[in-house]
Symmetry: C2
Subunit: 383 residues, 2 copies
């Protein structure tokens, strides 16, 4: 009949929509609005979301019954009319456990409330190179952290280096000696709590997006033992065709060679920017004739190389904001200035203002906060 038989593909949505889906969406929307804007009355919610007061009342009743929302009593604002009753998400009544597995020799865990406030912390030294033993250590840490919670837990969030699929299986994590480890399922079994495992940079991105005035089009670059990144594109995190989006550590930078990388090639971003690479370069600089100048040079070059590799991404995605997450002692100052300068030289800003470059707000907590955000989002039916 027709010469061309095409597939009209218009996005990921391939499933039919039921009225109950809309209900779930609206319930989540109410909670998100409360989480974002703070306590407000049912009438406020009605105005904010465009649903009627009747519907909002119904939704709020259901949320309170579930324990997700609470009434805080009458608002004290002075104006005509019946005083309103403030409703808020159950901020203190629910908690989240977060695990951060990104540091070199230590596993960190924390109990947080729904605002991301740190309520308790614990950690474990990494005493083994064996993947299975490490898995046991992580689950034990999770169980311990769960025991420290003082309110019902919504779930557990884990930020780990490596590639993680959407079911919480760590496909590859060379630093931790893991291949196809079903970490999410293991922790879920040990604790009985819904567990969400994500790449550390992805967690950090969500943390910075939510708690750091993030943009809908941003890149977070995580500098640690290696270099990773995570991208928000149009308000949605890029996942990639193989769940490997953000893995920019082993992209060749520049056309003028470079140092040999542990991946066997030369000129990878990691050879210029990772913490070990920087420390080696700084140690050499300290012995130079002009240590201060040599140190600045190291930082300047590292920033340049990062900017060189980011420039095509910035242009292609039209990125608004770049956030660097890592040791401020290394990243702040010369390095970040160099990133800004080089980026301005290599990307023609089509429309001002140009891309901003900044450090993460609390680099040491960004991943943990991010895991909390992801757990909450997941509970609200997002992702």
């Amino acid at each position: 009949m027709t010469s061309t038989r095409a597939r009209l593909r218009t996005g990921p949505e391939g499933t039919a929509s039921l009225p109950s889906d809309g209900r779930a969406h609206n319930l989540a929307l109410v909670l998100r609005t409360l989480h974002a804007a703070g306590a407000m009355s049912r009438a406020d919610l009605s105005r904010a979301l465009g649903l009627t007061r009747v519907t909002i009342s119904d939704l709020v009743t259901e949320l309170i019954a579930r324990g997700h929302a609470v009434e805080l009593g009458q608002s004290d604002e002075v104006r005509p009319g019946k005083p309103s009753i403030l409703v808020d998400i159950n901020r203190r009544g629910r908690q989240i456990v977060g695990l951060d597995l990104t540091e070199n020799h230590i596993l960190r865990a924390a109990v947080m409330d729904l605002d991301g406030t740190m309520l308790a912390r614990t950690d474990r030294a990494i005493t083994t190179e064996n993947g299975a033993e490490l898995t046991a250590l992580v689950t034990e840490l999770a169980v311990t952290a769960v025991g420290m919670a003082t309110a019902p837990l919504l779930g557990i969030g884990v930020g780990t280096p490596g590639i993680v699929d959407s079911d919480g299986v760590v496909t590859t994590a060379p630093n931790l000696g893991w291949t196809d480890v079903p970490l999410g399922a293991l922790i879920q079994e040990a604790t009985g709590l819904p567990t969400l495992v994500r790449n550390d940079a992805d967690a950090a991105l969500h943390g910075e997006y939510t708690f750091g005035q993030g943009s809908d089009d941003m890149i977070l670059v995580r500098v640690g033992r290696g270099v990773g990144s995570s991208l928000m594109v149009g308000g949605v995190r890029a996942r990639g065709a193989h769940h490997a989006a953000g893995e920019i550590g082993h992209v060749t930078v520049g056309t003028d060679g470079g140092t040999m990388c542990r991946c066997g090639r030369t000129g990878c971003l990691e050879t210029w920017l990772s913490v070990p690479a920087l420390e080696t370069a700084l140690a050499a600089a300290a012995l130079a004739e002009d240590p201060d100048g040599a140190t600045r040079d190291v930082m300047r070059v590292a920033g340049e190389r990062l900017a060189i590799s980011l420039a095509p991404i910035v242009a292609a995605i039209d990125v608004e904001e770049i956030v660097l997450c890592g040791p401020a002692a290394l990243l702040d100052g010369t390095l970040i200035d160099s990133v800004r300068e080089t980026l301005a030289l290599r990307v023609l800003p089509v429309i001002p203002p140009p891309t901003t470059v900044r450090l993460a707000q609390e680099p040491e907590n960004t991943v943990l906060r991010g895991t909390a955000v992801m757990v909450l989002s997941s509970q609200l039916g997002v992702e």
Copy 2:
């Protein structure tokens, strides 16, 4: 009250969901399914979408009443039970007008059916450098094309170089001498038809995605007078913070200088890869001692430079497929091979298979088909 007051931002969906939204979604879903898989019975649709036969019947009734779907008569398959009635999208009964403004000296227009089949064509030579006169020429062309339609038109799609906002205003199009031209509104007024204006690379991306077995994570690179691109990230086109996603023509490539660009800087991708740049280089190569070798060198270098600038993007987005859209005489062969080789050298494939690189299927029609896809999608409530 709380020390940290955060915004829980979890994506673009900030609006409440009404039951009617679900209905619209399901109507669109039925049409998309028919468009993709061809004519089928109501019972088939029910099985494919998971809705009941009753609901599907109701949806189909509405679509037929609107003129978007038609009954094709009984299926002739032999099996027990009442014969089914085939339903199909109204492929021939509705048409779409597409405009392609990307070529150097000519404006192209076509009437297409919903399968993207070309039914009629017309064009206009660009006889002016004046932006306003050109606008008049484009609207006149649109009116002419509308007059060539032989069935009711769903709308008009326009693919233009430059940056276009979501309301169809061309913010910047240096090649056409346009700044803040409300092209969509002008054509809509002149023709009385809903008009969708998009960047040419974005249109080509949609065309290739729909008609070319595209991937959910792909880049389309358009090589013409300049170099542009468009990215599909997770099945959604990247728009960018300033509607400028894909503008990679003026990113500096490499760290070894380059030719002066019309933007005033050196080493831009356009200085290596655009059609004018390639033609200049090829003319020089033809005078060399070894014309064939010199020609191959030109192509090889152009491919290298494209791959160098794409490498960070490929890694960051975890791209599955790269499509080149432009003159096959230039792009096919040495150039595209060089892209493949250089990409393999500069990106460490985390998980096989690696990114594929190919040419667009019918480069000269890709943009036009893409505009048709966009108009149809838009009619179905997508975007």
